[in-house]
């Protein structure tokens, strides 16, 4: 058997005190019958509070009037100012036989269904333009031009980090572990400029005459 701690005993005494509590007012008679009356069909809208009853009636009336208005709109009565008001409503679309008969028949004319299809085709073509294969760039150098070399340089972020290097000894051939620093190129977000870094690129010049001092690589270095 477990032993309750003093806190639990105190809670128990509080509960026993609270058991003596009685409500200030007596229960009004007929509450149960009123509640059950709401379940019956004729009392389905009976509310327990006048305000709720008023709101229920208001919302019910609103729903009925909305439904009536929707029904009238669906019937499509013409406005009294409409010149066609009061007349027999004309069918908006003629019967299918009349539509077929209305198509002018000529020996050269395609059938109606094919005509409809042919009308759709340009629309589809407009909606889905076919992707053309990329055309190769036109050669910029049309003739034997003049060439010069140019060094392309690009700044690059690098990470220099300490590392343990495993290298074979030159004399004995044994593997030696040495401390060192490695230099790693870091990824950069920006796009590098045209041309590979540090390489010599051939830049074509238009058929313009070379400048007098064409030693461009030496100038860059």
């Amino acid at each position: 058997m477990r032993k309750l701690d003093p806190n639990t005993n105190r809670v128990e005494s509080l509960l026993r005190e609270a058991a003596e509590w009685e409500p200030e007012t007596a229960c009004p008679a007929g509450l149960a019958e009123r509640a059950l009356a709401a379940l019956e069909p004729e009392g389905a809208t009976a509310a327990r509070r006048p305000a709720v009853g008023f709101l229920t009636t208001l919302m019910g009336g609103g729903a009925i009037s909305t439904a009536l208005a929707g029904g009238l709109l669906a019937v499509g009565l013409p406005h009294p100012a409409d010149p066609l008001a009061g007349r027999e409503p004309l069918p908006k679309h003629p019967p299918a036989a009349q539509r077929v008969a209305a198509i002018p028949v000529s020996p050269a004319a395609p059938p109606a269904r094919r005509a409809a299809v042919s009308r759709r085709v340009p629309v589809l073509r407009r909606a889905r333009p076919t992707a053309k294969p990329p055309t190769p760039a036109a050669p910029q150098i049309a003739s034997a031009g003049l060439w010069r070399t140019e060094e392309v340089e690009r700044e690059e972020a690098r990470v220099i980090a300490p590392a343990l290097l495993l290298q074979p000894d030159g004399n004995s051939g044994e593997l030696l572990i040495r401390t060192g620093v490695i230099d790693l190129p870091a990824a950069t977000a920006c796009r590098p400029p045209d041309g590979p870094d540090g390489e010599t690129a051939l830049v074509a010049l238009e058929a313009a005459p070379l400048p007098e001092a064409p030693a461009a690589p030496e100038e860059n270095n």
């Binding site: 477990r2 806190n7 809670v11 609270a18 409500p23 200030e24 007012t25 229960c27 019958e33 009123r34």
Partner: protein, 198 residues
């Protein structure tokens, strides 16, 4: 003896209600209306308490088919009332403000200030019980407030009596936290289990 007769009368009315007699069910609720009203008034006042009482009646009417007459009808409907009180207590629609003219009056108004305080304290304890988790709420309410023996509570809960007692203990521990300001903080106790060595 009279309790047994009451239970028999309840059983007869329950049978009629199950046969579709709404009036018999209304009679049943009228017999236990004081009990329902006490639960409803513990968490609500005035018109809200009336609404809550009617809500309990409707819930009981809808759930009447699930009543297996193993426990007294009073305990069963009281459990529904406690659960409805719990839902009301947590509801966002609950009134947060009590108007001055809704404060208790009548015989209590002539009571000294301490009596009003005591009543409010008792009400707060009842509300704390109504806020407990479902498995602890009804057993504590039915046993401590309505005086049902633990055996009947266990029958109503369809659980072994030891399980229900364990739930009650857990609920008491939880109440000692929620009513912390009313329960003086004691020193940590060493709990002696059966068979354990001192």
């Amino acid at each position: 003896m009279s309790e047994h007769c009451e239970n028999q009368a309840d059983d007869v009315l329950v049978g009629r209600a199950l046969a579709g007699n709404t009036h018999a069910f209304a009679q049943l609720c009228e017999r236990h209306r004081t009990r329902i009203w006490r639960v409803a008034n513990s968490v609500a006042r005035g018109p809200d308490a009336e609404d809550l009482t009617q809500e309990v009646v409707l819930r009981a009417f809808r759930a009447l088919r699930s009543y297996q007459r193993q426990a007294p009808f009073g305990a069963w409907i009281c459990r529904i009332a406690v659960n409805a009180a719990h839902d009301y207590h947590r509801s966002a629609w609950r009134r947060r403000v009590t108007l001055m003219d809704e404060l208790p009056d009548g015989p209590d108004s002539a009571c000294p200030h301490g009596d009003v305080e005591r009543r409010e304290l008792q009400r707060r304890v009842r509300q704390a019980v109504a806020a407990l988790p479902e498995k602890q709420r009804a057993p504590i309410w039915l046993h401590y407030f309505e005086g049902f023996p633990m055996v009947e509570v266990a029958r109503l809960e369809r659980a072994p009596e030891a399980t229900v007692r364990s739930r009650v203990r857990a609920g008491l521990r939880r109440l000692s936290f929620s009513l912390e300001d009313l329960v003086p903080a004691g020193e940590p106790q060493v709990r002696l289990e059966a068979g354990s060595r001192a």
